[in-house]
Amino acid sequence: MTSAQRDLNLAEEGATAATSYLTAGHTLRSWLTTRDHKRIALLYAVSITLFFCLGGIAAALIRLELATPQGDLVSADTYNKLFTAHGVIMVWLFLIPSIPSVLGNFLMPLMIGARDLAFPRLNLASWYLYLAGGAVILWALLAGGVDTGWTFYTPFSTMFSNSHVVLALAGVLLTGFSSILTGLNFIVTVHTMRAPGMGWFRLPLFVWANYATALILVLATPVLAMTLVLLAIERLFQVGIFDPALGGDPLLFQHLFWFYSHPAVYIMVLPAMGVASEIIPCFARRPVFGYRFMAYAILAIAVIGFLVWGHHMFVSGQSVYAGMVFSLLSFMVAVPSAIKVFNWTATLYKGRITFPAPMLYTLGFVGLFTVGGLTGLFLAALALDVHLSDTYFVVAHFHYIMVGGSVMAYLGGIHFWWPKVTGRMYSEAWGRLAALVIFAGFNLTFFPQYLLGYAGMPRRYHSYPEEFQLLHVLSSAGAVTLAVGYLLPLGYLAWSLRYGRPAPPNPWRATGLEWQTTSPPPPHNFAQPPVVVRGPYAYTDGAP
């Protein structure tokens, strides 16, 4: 580095140090009582990373156990508790809050040109609720764990399980209220806080995606909350709501549970689609193809996503007629999803494409989401589902959506906005390497599981016939690769916080409003309130 460059860097550093949200207060108290959406986003980032590591450890133990056909590492009981811990932590403490509460919290006000979310105190309260929920779930796990699976199916969870079900329910309930408050805040913010000139069809697709997600959070989560309350009542008072022996109906529980938990899949993947829609145009140097269709597709996924829950009960005794309707609706939700994949591809067409780390993660997202989505169609088909239900095929399918889709996109977003969030550049070479390792490790882990499931390996078993061992060993080897891949960003991103090159305001030459302020931004985001005069994605230097 020449000395002139160093002087320039130091000067930039000096300028940001004086004005950024990061330097607005250095005490622990200033962080724990902050109302700045950017700081709350970082509080979320740290806490969900911790829970991701915990959930990952549970996954590692599961894969280790499955390396041999015999159940020799842990007992069947412990195995049940491990996959329950993995599911509960990854769904409610990592995936649901991941992109909305971290990237969404940080970026939504910046992208619409606002000074903060509409209700900053509520935003902080939401983080504390999340933390309280996480603590209670952790308590349940430390006290001996839960063995019901993350789905808490009755009557096992209410009448037969001897584990800490009610405690875990209480924790999930708290995180649910945290989600509702975040969703409420996002909805009101998008409706009331847009900068002058920021019409609905000038919103970046990331904002559209988080807006649609917020609608689902606000309308689906309360149903889960009350369902868990009813479950707790049945368990505590030993009365029949869902237990058939006492005049209840287990299918009733499944209807109520999946009325939340299927839309929850879209809570997890819609924000990921939003991230992809920001990154792909930037590195193809072209406006996103079919902006309005992309926005409508987001809303369509959110709406139709509410009407497909019954495909989880094709073999649970639901009527065949209901099954046919839910099957049809499940096929329909694939249409807007496909529109999005086609439009991302069309955006790339004749673009001037470069492949920095965020783009590699995002392209990985598009490919893996497509595989996960197409295998979802297998499962939406009534007859085929009879063969595939409750097998590893299902496990592979939803991991392609949630890990291959959401986690890849989350990491892509973290890299893309890292300069904006921290004011530092990460190491590009390490970033690309990690993206490739994660992509390879992911496929090695989960593709064999499609084959296992098709061959008849049921999910949630801790021992299996020997002919499945080869595929299980491949999958476990993939899990090790994946673990290395996930540890890499923790290392080089942390390193960049101290040693990274100071980031300019707009290192990617991107067009969003968030890139027009300093990196990192000042406490109230913009020195001057922005006025918006054009739509997003005004990239003009790509080919035609």
């Binding site: 509409a118 209700f119 409420l184 009101v188 606000v218 309360p222 149903v223 005049g247």
Partner: protein
């Protein structure tokens, strides 16, 4: 939903994240509407469970609902409707800048809310004594003869869950009313903005409206059926 020029609104500066006071007030009332939408879905599983009960156990549902206390339920409906009237008047008074009057009306609404809870508590007490509380002690009787329709217990599970969750919401509303009534006794810049009464009113009417649905479901419909 009032965004018109309230007496004090023009003089109070908006919170730092807002550009104008009007924007802040719109965000507040819009947020309350979104919250109410969410609350509606919160009651959803209970109503869905009730639908399931009526479809699968019509006779048990009818037999069980004859055990609820029609007169106490009706009295409570009257109490709650009156409290909503007072709440609406409190909103009008606050809008007109009559803060003391609004505080008084809020306190009166809270008092009626407490009366509702007292009557409800009395009703619970009687039901407990009649062995209508779900669990091992559940033994409904009619004219000294034990009744054993399937679905009777589910009715009472839903009855206690619905009215219990409603009572929790009402308790939150009562606390909000009392807190607002205290806050309104001070002048506007230091005390609460007038628009806070509108928000509390929206919430209160929502809780009232939930009861308007629970009352016929639990006290009336089953009685009328065979």
């Amino acid at each position: 939903m009032n965004t018109g020029p309230a007496t004090h609104a023009a003089h109070t500066p908006p919170a730092p994240q807002f550009a104008t006071r009007a924007q802040q007030e719109f965000a507040g009332s819009f947020g309350m509407w979104v919250f109410i939408a969410s609350e509606l879905l919160f009651f959803g599983p209970l109503l869905f469970g009730y639908l399931y009960l009526r479809l699968h156990f019509p006779q048990g549902c009818a037999a069980a609902s004859r055990h609820t206390d029609f007169w106490l339920g009706t009295a409570n409906t009257a109490v709650l409707l009156t409290s909503s009237l007072l709440m609406a008047l409190a909103g009008q008074a606050a809008q007109a800048g009559l803060r003391r009057r609004a505080a008084g009306l809020l306190a009166a609404s809270a008092a009626l809310g407490l009366a509702f809870l007292a009557i409800k508590g009395w009703e619970y007490h009687a039901e407990f004594n009649e062995h209508l509380f779900p669990g091992v002690g559940f033994r409904p009787e009619a004219g000294g003869v034990a009744q054993q329709w399937p679905g009777m217990q589910l009715f009472f599970i839903l009855y206690f869950a619905m009215t219990g969750v409603h009572a929790l919401h009402l308790s939150a509303g009562i606390l909000a009313c009392l807190w607002l009534a205290l806050g309104l006794r001070r002048a506007a810049p230091a005390g609460l903005p007038d628009s806070a009464v509108e928000l509390a009113g929206l919430y209160w009417h929502f809780v009232d409206l939930v009861w308007i649905f629970l009352y016929p479901l639990l006290y009336l419909v089953g009685r009328a059926g065979g």
